[in-house]
Amino acid sequence: MRLTIRALVFLPFAAGLFGQVVAPTPNSVGPTRGDDWKNYNVVNSFETGYRFLSQSGNQNKYRSDENFGSGVRLLSSFIGLNSKDGHSALFDELVFSTQGLGGDPYESASLRVQKNRIYEYNLLWRKNDYFNPGLTTDGGQGQNLLDTTTTLQDNNLTLFPQSKIKIFLGYSRNTQDGAGISTFPSATSIGDFVPVFTDVRQIQNEYRLGGEVRWWGMTLNFLHGWQDFKDDSTGQVNHGASPYWQVALFRNARWIDLNGRFTYTGSQRGFLTNQNAVGTNQQVYTYGDARRPVATGNATVSLFPTSKLTIANHTSFYNIRTDGDSTYLQLNNSTGLANALYYQYLGIRTVANDTDFDYKIKNWFDVHGGYEYSNRRIAATSQFALAGTPDTVPYVQTNELNAGKVGFRARPISRLIVTVNAEFGRASRPFTPKSDSNYNVLTGRIEYKWKTLQLAAWSQADYNDNSVLLSDYNSHGRSYAGSGSWSPVKWFAFDASYSKLHLETLGGINFFAQNVLFANQVSYYLSNLHTGTLSARFSLRRFDFYLGYSRVQDTGDGRAIPTQLVIGPDLPAFRTAQTFPLLFQSPQARVSFRISERLRWNAGYQYFGYREDFFPSQNYLAHTGYTSLLWSF
């Protein structure tokens, strides 16, 4: 009995310490060793309760960020059955768990059933209430809205999981349904857009069949999948398939690892959109096909010539060709006919080779480094012409990236680990002004662990300069983070973390304002993002308490009002767009009372407060909480 009580006290500290959602309750109920039933041992728990919400301010923003509501919930459930001798008739293990059923925006269920040596089945089902009001942080000017439900499920069955020959079967389904408002270009007035209601209906089904064979120390893994996608939301039909293949051959041995993998995906999608212009006789169709075969390959050789040295060489290639034709057909009073064919081609071929080494100079000190060469060739064409016009010649560009990595790891004393890594790269032909061009990343980490005390500090500087004539782009990001956790006694645990991200980017921009070209302008964005979390757990007799606090604050560039300081172009749109001070904080508290070994009463409260300094229209406050019973039979 004493063992059981100790375990009950300890278990709350084992899970959910950093969790930032107040419910479900992480505590456990029931005998820690479970109950015996026939040839099985059974562990179960159910948490049923009521979640409440009181919200003020911008409801759309709240639904976009958090979305918890009110109502009765099965906050969590868990059933585990384990065969005691491993020879039960139908299954030797069954684990079933759920979360948030009954109306939470994030519902999930998972099931694993397995019979030793015969099969293993895993199911993961998830449902997400997705709300996208088209907001942006500058005051919510978006006009597109989605209020949909997304469900995802993955089924995987492995036959003969402990055998040298395994068979894999799988099925996944991904759907999105709901209401939406979108925009459509006007057929009668170029540049004007009209809102359209949309019944969102997207379905993707995927079927998988594969196997794995082991012989002579080698493993051959192969997989064939069939994926079918359909989007018949209002005004359009998209229907396509993506069959794919994967073959992998690998071996891990004492001196050498060999690993090869080849994949091929052949995707195709046919489409048709329809647009009617209200009040006119115009109707616009676009239809066609898009195709995209993708082939990739990886080959790795890892050598371990001595126990202190590891050398790994990795070669990969990636070849993707996207082409498609899209016919634009405009009917006007059934007499005028304009028919144009758009055609685009985008081909990307990347070959990369990298070599890494890791050498342990001393037992407490090792160094590692590497070099990577990548070569990417992009061929692209686009055409707007009447059908039958010859294709244009693709424009071809090649980018070469040379990157080096170096670092060390030291353990001067058993409790202390220091890690430093650096990566620097030079690209000859970046694809966009923001792409990695002349970059260097320096990362350091210190970890100290002594009994239940764990301290860590981390820092990273990530610089990227991508400069061309008339346009400079550089991004300087510096991050610092520290964390500590301590559990001096079994009934108390404390955890804290702090992170700061300083990000400043400078980008060259050209744009028009009232038909005037503003050339060689600079977009300067500055963010100073501070994030902190605090949490404490403690137990007093039958009570378990949890207190937590999370705070995210972007202090921006320090200005108090949007137009106090102008950085970037002297236009109202940019004055406030370059720095966005905001505060998002969420304190919470939870209490769990052990009524009996199999029953607990829980209650919790969580506050969400979101405040933008410059655009208060998006601010919101929310008081959420719950009360529940956690029970086991």
Binding site: T263, L470, S479
Partner: protein, 307 residues
Amino acid sequence: MCSATKFVLLLAFVAAPVFSQTPSGAFVGSTVCKTCHPDVWFRFYKNAHFKSVASEKEKPENTGCEGCHGPGEAHVKAHGGKATIRAFSLLSPKETSQACLRCHSESLARSNIHRSVHTRNDVGCAQCHSIHKSATPKFLLAKSEPELCYGCHTDIRAQFSMPFKHRVNEGFMACSDCHNPHGTSSPSWRMAARPAMVSQGQVNEEACLKCHSDKRGPFAFEHPPVRVEGCEICHSPHGSPNSRLLKRPVVFTMCLECHNGVGTFGRTGTGVPMLSPAHNMTDPRYQNCTNCHLRIHGSNADPLFLR
């Protein structure tokens, strides 16, 4: 040395069996172990490793307690002691991993483990997995996700505290939905080796598309940076203070920073096309680009992603 001899020697290397530091002595069987370790043995049937015991067909070195801890004869004769058996508390992370990979390397998901960032930084199996005191019913994790990952990745923990984030803290997703902590092949959709340990969706594409299947395409008109640079060119995948995980608070500055029409950038090498004069950037109507360019990830009907 002739080439044939070299080839035979190479084959010998390839065929060399994996082994780790193994104590000497005979195998005594797991039932002997329970005499002194009843607390471990009596709940071992809930452990995934119990399969090897239940099969009753495995060799002694591959089953039960001695499958991991090595022959127990010397340990029994000495009446215990960590020096007489393979005690994982005394092993280095590398030695621990070697012991585990003797069986667990035979999986595609772990075929890149020796070149993974975790292995390179001396993160061994026992730092994430707890064989006898697991906190999770699956995978024998020492803590449940994401707490396990947050323990080292403090910066990532901060990203999931943002106002807009993937729902990891809510329990809806797990880090391993997108990452393979045992290492992956290099991300084929980008040039550099970063991001590390991102598992690939549909065998060869970015992990985001495993769930965001409507963004997969193919589209007759692809937004090229999506294919060339990946989703991270515009989005911060873990969390962001900005809606839709965008890297900028407002859409138009993010778009303008690429669409400035200069340099040799873009699909035709003449700069990423800049906006036409009709776009009056002082007018709020034009400041939220995706109002009109709503199929920004790719369109089948319009090269400007308008429909």
